[in-house]
Amino acid sequence: MSSAAPRTGTIGVRVRFFAVLRERAGCGERSFELPAGSTVGDLLELLGREIPELPSGVAAAVDRTYAPRDRELRDGQELALIPPVSGG
């Protein structure tokens, strides 16, 4: 199922915030429209301009799986910002 996504138009991505990021963003989730072909890194850069003091060491998960910054996003996906974890 790796048919190439169209490179034109826009995609909608839901972004989720947790813990310290949720408090800074003032909400648990927001939707973003992005140019088709945008990557995780592109979205992180955009978020960095909007959210004050986005802490260092934030990882990203796409549809509940950790994803590298060069992962291309697709319409309807969920991107979660994962600040440094402290479970256990």
Partner: protein
């Protein structure tokens, strides 16, 4: 590419929930007369952390992902060390000192596999389970704990976001 990890007969339970952790239930879930050893790990809330008196701890989780990730951690550890059965749970919500935040029960034919698997699971939980804790102190203040940046499993670490990194440790108590 984003499908949940394959189910494994070795993982009898992997849950992230507000339910209190029952040690004997976890032990019973993994117990089996073919196995010779069970190791149970409980992480519990301490009254003191970094010289401050903790009155309660709040655990927040990315629930849907945390459940899948905990199952993956358990499966990988069991396969790596040859354990037979794992039940692992992580709490969410408000916990008081003395209460368990995480419980991991591992059964294996031999004790070495059980210990290694148990240790591996808790270390990976601390490294990558999408869970965060906020401590509340006797003086009324509270703070998110400094955590471990996750190195993405699917590739290199995601690293600091360009141009947006705050000062290191700014979310410490």
């Amino acid at each position: 590419m984003t499908s949940p990890p394959a189910p494994s007969p070795r993982v009898v339970e992997a849950d992230v929930s507000p339910d209190p952790i029952d040690p004997s239930r976890l032990v019973e879930r993994v117990g089996h007369p073919d196995e010779g050893a069970v190791v149970l790990f409980l992480g519990t809330v301490r009254t003191r952390n970094r010289e401050r008196e903790v009155t309660s701890l709040e655990y927040e989780a990315y629930g849907a992902m945390a459940r899948e990730e905990l199952a993956a951690i358990a499966r990988e550890a069991a396969e790596r060390h040859g354990a037979s059965r794992i039940a692992a749970v992580h709490r969410t919500g408000t916990l008081r000192p003395g209460q368990a935040s995480v419980g991991i029960a591992v059964a294996a034919a031999h004790r070495d596999a059980a210990y290694r698997t148990s240790r591996d699971v808790i270390e990976e939980v601390k490294r990558r389970l999408p869970v965060w804790k906020k401590e509340s102190y006797a003086d009324g203040s509270s703070a998110w704990l400094d955590g471990h940046p996750v190195a993405g499993r699917a590739g290199e670490p995601t690293g600091p976001t360009a141009g947006a990194a705050g000062p290191s440790g700014e979310d410490q108590p």
